[in-house]
């Protein structure tokens, strides 16, 4: 492995193509950390946005007018405002209103860090889209199936959990995957509040080494591969979950 890494140092000396995240151990660790942070942030947001989507879609079917209205207000507000401004609003406006706690060094630090706020804000953003996606899937489940379940004595929650949702899930999978891929791309916004993800670490490296071009091209390729792998996996999953004769 070291031989390959050293080769890139030679490459830099010979040609001037500087890829310090390969031959320099410190920069390599930074880049790997950034990559892992991107993955971690994506997974956390993925998880919570799907939870928000499922719950929101369930609340939208509620009998109370105001529950539906509040969920709709949430969707429209988060869909029609820039995610970056939402992120700033959460991090700066709401973050400063929360109480501060004492950290290990005796100083004052906010109760939630930038990673947590990025996760919260992006989950809410992607969740707003997921609610609509899940709702469209639930509407595609025929009324007669739900009626049959009611006749068999299922409760409202059981019907949603065991009958409507599994069927709806297969219908919405393409739209859901689309949104989740978008979410992974949106995690770059966390750069703005200094979450050490891939873009942020790449920025640190090019600030230290003045190799903007190489880092930029590497970054584009890295995201291209990351998202490409995700899209490929999602497409396979879609094919595996497909209901024959529908959609």
């Amino acid at each position: 492995m070291d031989v390959i890494f050293e080769w890139f140092r030679v490459l830099y000396q010979e040609t001037g193509i500087n890829l310090p995240f390969l031959y320099d151990e410190y920069d390599r660790n930074r880049m790997v950390d950034g990559f892992l942070t991107t993955i971690r942030l994506s997974l956390v947001c993925l998880f919570f946005s799907v939870i928000i989507g499922v719950t929101g879609a369930w609340l939208q079917g509620s009998a109370f007018k105001w529950t539906r209205r509040i969920v709709n207000g949430y969707i429209q507000l988060f869909r029609n405002t820039p995610p970056l401004v939402q992120l700033y609003f959460f991090y700066f406006a709401i973050g400063t209103l929360l109480p501060r706690v004492e950290n290990d060094w005796g100083g004052q630090s906010p109760i939630l860090g930038s990673f947590a706020w990025a996760a919260i804000s992006l989950s809410f953003f992607a969740g707003a889209f997921n609610v609509e996606i899940f709702r469209s899937g639930i509407e595609a489940v025929p009324r007669s199936t739900v009626e049959a379940a009611e006749a068999l004595g299922f409760s409202k929650l059981q019907i949603y959990r065991d009958i409507t949702l599994p069927l709806a899930f297969r219908v919405v999978l393409p739209a859901l995957n689309n949104n989740l891929v978008n979410l992974v791309k949106t995690t770059t916004l966390a750069y703005a509040i200094a979450v050490p993800e891939m873009l942020y670490e790449a920025n640190q490296i090019w600030s230290d080494n003045v190799n903007v071009t190489e880092m930029m091209i590497f970054l584009l390729l890295a995201y291209f591969v990351l998202v490409g792998v995700l899209v490929g996996a999602m497409n396979r999953w879609e094919r595996a979950m497909k209901i024959p004769g529908y959609g």
Partner: protein, 278 residues
């Protein structure tokens, strides 16, 4: 919508819905948003003598922020125009008969679609020169122009996919009928296929515009002085008072909401109108 079939398996069930977006009207959001913006500032109402209330400060800065917002709109419209033109060519390249053109435009489309918007913006910002030397004439290449170019890259890729999808969605009978009437491929495309596609492309295209408008704030990260940058500067010049943060960021949210929500509503209406039944 009424479907005629003897196999009623998993058909879209149409609920009797009086309003498409379920009960919430546009004006309902206004009191909620105002509460969200000014609620926190009321909590800090005990400001001392000589200090303007958050609302008054916001009103002072509002004209400047509005100017910044208009600049955002200019960026969005220019990037959309540029992206649409290049994207349409790329999309037609994707259905070209020449394999090299087809796979080339496919790759370009996928590449720019899979890259995050912010990374593309950084790409345009840092790798384009700040001035172009054209026959000894130095043409400056300002930040905002680079931002427009950077934002039009993902737009281009998305428009390309929209065009390809719309052409693919037309029944192949259209092509065959045109061929039998001795239209050339160019004529078929220009006179028969594309006019039918416009209707199908309009809703996703408007969606894309809305997304682009919301992405223009990304330009603040790379230092274009649009509404988000100006907000940050306004907050700094007011001495970074914490009670100002919520009203200011809330105001920016509101600006974008007021602009994008009608577009979203109109898109839904168009989708309903153009929906093909049966």
């Amino acid at each position: 919508m009424r479907y005629k079939t003897d196999l009623p398996v998993m058909l879209p069930v149409s609920k009797p819905e009086p309003e498409p977006l379920g009960g919430l009207r546009a004006w309902h959001i206004l009191p909620l948003a105002l509460l969200a913006i000014f609620g926190p500032s009321l909590a800090f109402a005990q400001s001392g003598e000589g200090v303007l209330s958050p609302l008054a400060v916001l009103l002072n800065w509002a004209p400047l922020l509005l100017k910044g917002f208009i600049f955002n709109l200019v960026i969005s419209v220019s990037a959309m125009a540029l992206g649409t033109v290049v994207g349409a060519i790329l999309g037609l390249g994707q259905i070209s008969l020449i394999p090299a053109v087809r796979s080339g435009s496919w790759f370009v489309t996928q590449f720019f679609r899979n890259a995050p918007w912010l990374v593309l913006l950084f790409f345009a910002m840092f790798l384009l020169p700040f001035e172009i030397d054209l026959f000894g004439l130095k043409i400056p290449f300002p930040d905002w122009l680079k931002a427009i170019l950077g934002l039009s890259l993902p737009v281009m890729a998305n428009v390309s996919e929209i065009v390809r999808g719309a052409v693919r969605s037309l029944p192949s009978g259209q092509w065959e009928a045109a061929e039998s009437l001795a239209y050339t491929r160019l004529q078929t495309l220009w006179l028969i296929i594309l006019p039918q596609c416009v209707k199908r492309m309009l809703p996703p295209w408007m969606n894309l515009y809305s997304i682009l408008t919301m992405a223009t704030v990304l330009a603040s990260i790379v230092g274009v002085s649009e509404v988000m940058t100006l907000t940050g500067q306004a907050l700094a010049s007011e001495g970074g008072r914490p009670e100002l943060l919520a009203p200011f960021y809330g105001f920016v949210l509101l600006l974008f909401f007021v602009y994008c929500y009608p577009i979203a509503r109109f898109t839904v209406r168009l989708e309903k109108k153009f929906a093909v039944i049966g």
